[in-house]
């Protein structure tokens, strides 16, 4: 039976842990001392030290994101700080470390110790699946923040990547009028094939005034001063792009335009679903590596 050690994580990771225990993995965990024992399946072995969890582990799994900064593991249910280095230096050579949102630092340390590091956030299937809770979370915000229904609203989605595509599909499913702002001819063709309208980014400043809700998915400044000026007063901008985001928020505030920054939605709005998606991705990785 395959053994897995989980160190740290939030609600999503608790979901991952319990679901994988149901699937007959032998699970050791560390970093959840603030969680009731009853929240974990009985089969799970709760370790009293990092050493107990990591020393002989074939596979160690860190959360998404693995760190909140300063080389400390993202472990909100842990009473103490767990340092990244403390985990990696205990792992033996050629062992597997699954990690969410790896940075260059942790990769360098893994190389140093000969550890096989895989960042599951970089897996395409997780990117596709995570677009689901992200889009739903954005829609929930739009529903909550506007005095109108999504149905019949003129929605503009900036960007036609995974999140833009899923948002477009769901908004259409709710009866919104969807336009997507794109850069490439092929993205315009995609939108047309899917029944959405499209505009090009060079038209954005002139046309933004026609829309009720703007969803940004582009992680660089696309909604600047002129666009904000042309925006309807009642319009709402929801920025889903990672920092620094795509909106000049300071100017938006000054002009009295309504904006919402919405980051890391999957873990916030649907931790169980998000946990399931992480779990499935981890299982895919283990299968590919021939780990049973």
């Amino acid at each position: 039976m395959r053994e897995l050690s989980f160190i740290g994580g939030d609600r999503r990771q608790i979901r991952v842990i319990n679901s994988m225990a149901d699937r007959d993995y032998h699970i050791r965990i560390y970093g959840f001392d603030k969680v009731e024992r009853s929240e974990f399946s009985e089969k799970i072995e709760i370790c009293k030290s990092i050493s107990e969890a990591v020393d002989n582990a074939e596979t160690v799994i860190l959360p998404l994101p693995y760190t909140g900064g300063r080389e400390i593991i993202n472990a909100p249910y842990c009473g103490e700080e767990i340092h990244t280095g403390d985990i990696l230096r205990r792992m033996r050579e050629n062992r597997l470390l699954l990690i969410g949102k790896a940075d260059e630092g942790v990769r360098a340390i893994a190389r140093l110790y000969g550890i096989h590091l895989v960042d599951y956030l970089e897996r395409e299937e997780l990117g596709i699946l995570n677009a689901i809770p992200t889009a739903e979370g954005a829609i929930e915000i739009a529903m909550h923040e506007t005095p109108r229904t999504i149905h019949g609203s003129r929605c503009l989605i900036l960007g036609n990547g995974r999140i833009g595509k899923m948002l477009g599909k769901m908004l259409m499913g709710l009866g919104a009028k969807v336009t997507v702002c794109v850069r490439k001819y092929s993205d315009a063709a995609y939108c047309r094939a899917n029944g959405e309208k499209s505009i090009y980014f060079y038209e954005l400043e002139n046309k933004i005034g026609e829309y009720d809700i703007i969803f940004n998915t582009v992680p660089s400044l696309v909604v600047g001063y002129t666009a904000l000026l042309n925006l309807k007063d009642e319009a709402l901008i929801i920025d889903l792009a990672s920092k620094p985001g795509g909106v000049d928020f300071e100017t938006a505030d000054r002009l009295g335009k309504k904006t919402v920054r919405a980051l890391s939605l999957p873990g916030k709005v649907a931790p169980e679903t998000a946990g399931d998606f992480i779990m499935e991705t981890i299982i895919n990785i283990l299968e590919e590596l021939g780990v049973k």
Copy 2:
């Protein structure tokens, strides 16, 4: 130019008033003294007394619902109580009174004074349109109250009326797995034609345990003790039916099952859209009556 007098109402009615002023009706209003003057279009005449608004009016329009009880007009933005009788007895014979959710009392008084009363809530188009904000409001609640996405959730809709149909369509549009609980063969056929599954009400108790979210639209007790007992612990019931609703809430609480009562959603979640729908219905009525 057609003259209309509006007495009382909430955000929705303010929307109706401003939109109709834009469409070249001459509008008098009473019952909004707590609202800023600037929130109303300049063309609108704000009356200082009921008498000024009603005495010579061809058409008087009351809100939805027209009363909160005790013969007092539903006028949350009015500093004083307005009595139904005070309005009707000032209206001249054969004049038109448009009203939301008329009861037998107000109908009797109208007959007495020879006033032509029309309840716009009884109009089929308003029923159909109101299903939109009701369904969206229900979905917003479901998104907020569950740790999972709607996408992929097993949803059960009790009843296949206007709200049930709109909910089904929107939930499918979000990627949910939708089953509708119906009484008639023809409703089962409707669901099948629309790609939804269906079960019959006599099967409800046995099958309710398979679902994550249950939306009730039936205004009589359909989810009783046995059904509640069989419900999954994590499941959520959202009851959209008017009082007394379709769920035995006391038992649900005792069994620790999660329920939400959601009444009058259109005015709460999307007052502007709901106002637009009322306005359009009023315009339809005026057109049918040959009022220009």
Copy 3:
């Protein structure tokens, strides 16, 4: 075990017969001598005379439509003519006769003999389900007859009944731009709620020129001279309404406009599916009557 006698019918009825045999009804048939024995399940009893099939039958089932006229059963696979009267006069009192598209004549004879006649075509579930093959058949014709894709075409549906609704849904699903021509405000509201545009019949003559494909579902003359004159030359009209249909075909021909009359599509384009729907309806009727 329930016994059923089937007299006559086309491909659909052969499907009904075989499917019901699979469901453990005891089946007798007459009127299929041109069909190979191997096309019927072995459990089915093939009768050599009407008498053998009908004399002791509890339930006799005639096809849809039961007659092609002149009191003769619709039995294309029968070498001889079967007269309606020959069947009914052999049936005993209080027995059940299931029949498709009953006319006043056959009802009168049934009353005379004390036979319990039920017209399964009048069942709402069959009407709803039959809209599926009708709509698909209409779409197949539209695909075949036009040099353009349905996707992106401006389609106008005349009428918002069962067929109009199903057509609208399927055309939207293929990416067409759908407008529905309606008479009632509530139908316009329905279309809006479902993401379709609508126009009123009084606007038809003026607006018909905007559309590429017109589907008529209204069984009375709605597309007359002026409408035909305004129709684009490349446009196609598909008339799904039963005779006399909704189009002035003579004028259309004279003006060189493209029209297709498409009647009784379910049996033509999808006899197996259509047969399944008849079977399910018959089972519903038997269940309601307490026949097991």
Copy 4:
């Protein structure tokens, strides 16, 4: 005003030519002597020789596919054979040649003469748009060849590329039960996000028996002997992949399985739409090259 010379092509190209003439390009054509003059816009200049059309042309446009083989231009409406070489050797250096489905031969000649060759079939937007008529054509075939409705049918799509995705979307829109056969985890995730089921190719042989209609989009043998053996007798395979296709047709015939090869659908089922897509792609290319 930009001048364009079109040599050869079918119905699609006639559409392209007329549409571009409407957009104020100056158009010369050669290779359409079997087409009535009235089928072309008056603004178009019909050349009497290749020389007249090509000698001074800035831009020459060949059809899709540009050749049917043997270095002869695909020109079904031309009374004589036009040789590729005859066109290219007349073009001056640095001029633009737009061509559909270029092969190595024509590219080599273009390089030799210093002609700037662009294959518009390689443009991503055309690939995306062409999936629309391809999918619709496949659906029309499926409707025509089966005695059942698409609605409710279990459809299996082999491959999740552009055509597979568009087919999935349209089949869902018609109410089919859609499963996609994929190779990658990320494609399975895509299908799940879009409400489709998926299976992996290694499961195909075992599971193919569950489906009514199989659409192949994979251009290599994926449906071999065992899969064909397991296929239901009534099932239909539609192969959309370019030669040699994905089905062992010989074995299929021997086993009595129903197959349809469907190649080059856009030009066959919707030449006008296909022509529009080519035109838009050509305009995009001209714009990108700064040609006005």
